[in-house]
Symmetry: C2
Subunit: 343 residues, 2 copies
């Protein structure tokens, strides 16, 4: 394990025959350095293979050159959700170009606030992303109090001093319901995500509103936990209400529900229509292929990171609009069976 001593700015200064300060100026493109010396310094730096020490820069300018992400989900649920990796990839896309790093923290749900606090206290990050917003999310106030720049994914329900990436699940749910209603369904059910999650409750509300808008009576709703097991259980429960279609609030539950329905003799889509949400990689490859709502977490990640860096740099940042989610129609939705009479 060789430990090649990295050259410091001092070495560069010596090689170029100038002082440390001048080297710093030259490397940062500041005025007050003659073209001649600047080139000599750059050449010296190149020859020595010098790269700035993030540690030293971080201390001297009191910036971490990193942003943080705290994930509070249980590992199993995390693994099943395609959101995070895609979001993170998008974030990285923006960060890596700008020499910023992403610090990740995965904590038990109860320690989420402690997680943010740790990142802040240790000075490890200059800002954070807030995901999985909850109803009346306490993290907003916490981060404001800590003076920590943040960007939320979706606009919180309460007041928030932070810019948000305006992710809106409602049009996606509305599109799913309207698609089903258009096919002739009158008994549409919903398997919702946990109500304390903002996206869980918003999708649910969107579902209710969409039914109303389609002139349909309220449909049965069962709350589940976004997991396959939860989706399966919820499906068993909700099928008792005799819906001809189920709108799931994510693909994982939809795929699990689809299997349950088929096992219970409810052929999909002949006797039951099903829609998912997320449009995961798998959605197009289950049988029948799942009608789902396509979201773009990669894009959200990119935009969120851009906004956060801007905010950290002291800019004022507006909420960031993103394209509305699109319904991808596949084979899991069809008109309801004729024998189901409309009341």
């Amino acid at each position: 394990m060789t430990r090649p001593d990295r050259p410091t700015i001092r070495d560069v200064a010596a090689a170029a025959g100038v002082s440390k300060g001048t080297v710093s100026f030259a490397l940062n493109g500041r005025p007050g350095v003659s073209e001649d010396t600047r080139e000599r310094i750059l050449a010296a730096a190149r020859d020595l293979g010098w790269t700035p020490s993030t540690k030293a820069r971080a201390l001297s300018v009191s910036r971490a050159f990193a942003v943080g992400l705290v994930l509070a989900r249980e590992p199993e649920l995390l693994g099943a959700d395609p959101f995070f990796p895609a979001f993170i990839a998008g974030v990285e896309r923006t960060l890596s170009d700008r020499g910023q790093a992403l610090v990740l923290q995965v904590v038990p749900e109860a320690e989420e606030e402690a997680g943010y606090r740790r990142l802040a206290d240790a000075g490890r990050v200059d800002g954070v992303f807030v995901l999985d917003l909850r109803v009346a999310d306490p993290r907003i106030a916490l981060l404001a109090e800590l003076g920590m720049p943040a960007v939320t994914i979706a606009r919180p329900d309460g007041p928030s001093p932070f810019p948000a990436v305006l992710v809106d699940d409602r049009p996606g749910i509305a599109a799913a319901v309207s698609h089903l209603a258009g096919l002739g369904h009158r008994h549409i059910a919903h398997v919702a995500g946990p109500a304390h999650f903002l996206h869980g409750s918003r999708r649910r509300r969107a579902f209710d509103d969409a039914l109303d808008e389609a002139g349909l009576p309220p449909g049965p709703v069962v709350e589940a936990d976004f997991s396959a097991a939860g989706g399966a259980a919820a499906t068993r429960e909700i099928l008792a209400a005799g819906p001809t279609a189920i709108v799931y609030s994510n693909d994982l539950m939809a795929i699990a529900g689809l299997s349950v329905a088929v096992e219970l003799g409810r052929a999909v889509p002949a006797r039951l229509s099903v829609t998912g949400f997320d449009n995961t990689d798998l959605a197009g490859y289950v049988s029948p292929a799942l009608t789902s709502v396509r979201t773009d977490p990669y894009l959200w990640g990119r935009k969120a990171a851009e906004a956060l860096l801007e905010l950290i740099d002291g800019g004022t940042v507006d909420d960031v609009p993103v394209p509305a989610a699109q319904l991808v129609i596949r084979a899991s939705t069809a008109p309801p069976p004729p024998e189901v009479r409309t009341e």
Copy 2:
């Protein structure tokens, strides 16, 4: 955005009426501080709400107090793979107790080496994990040259100065094949992962060996890319060879393949048995429930992090054994149909 000026060690020193150095000694539990003063210092630190600045410590002891992970997969593929989140959660489990952070980097595959180099040059991390080992992986030599401590997930095929978490896919594949052979299957096919990935090629070799051991002739193998689309395509291709069972090298491809088979009229498990690998959350909730190989990436993450920290602290670390993967038998495997005669 209040910016509450964090107290420094200097403030603590002033409050306790001692010098900076003494404070540092006291806080780090070094000898040479009277019990009396130590307590006074600790009290002062507590009262002021002092927490050490990672930035300053990092510079002064030239440690980043962070470890790195470079992900080189495409975002979509990342999203579909349950491995990363679980692995990362395990890593965090170990790290967070010890005040270490995880720095993530997601890069296009072509920039993977640059990714490691960036982390190293900037001094952002004290060590890294090496995932998704490839055949003759160039990263091993790169990291050795950079003098960067590392832990590999699985033992590389070539020489490596780094400890490895001894993940071994072979028993899992062997168990799947032997399970199928025990059910009476004689025509077993394999949908492999990319051959340039070590786990792709190892699982394939394990498949070949297991067939041989069961006294069966080599079975057809199609290489795919671990994605649902790839799994579906590979299944279409491999079904032409007329196998009675297919061993997939991950669940995602298996689930996609299962749908393809059913659509082509090959009922599972009546006319085709299918096994997956990973035992994802969804495996138990598709129809039929998927027989799969359970792995434990959460545990691997924990162990890998422990080993890496030990290594960074200058310890010598041996390879880390982990429990062998277990076959989880569900409904997607059954005896082959009787009409298939054995040659």
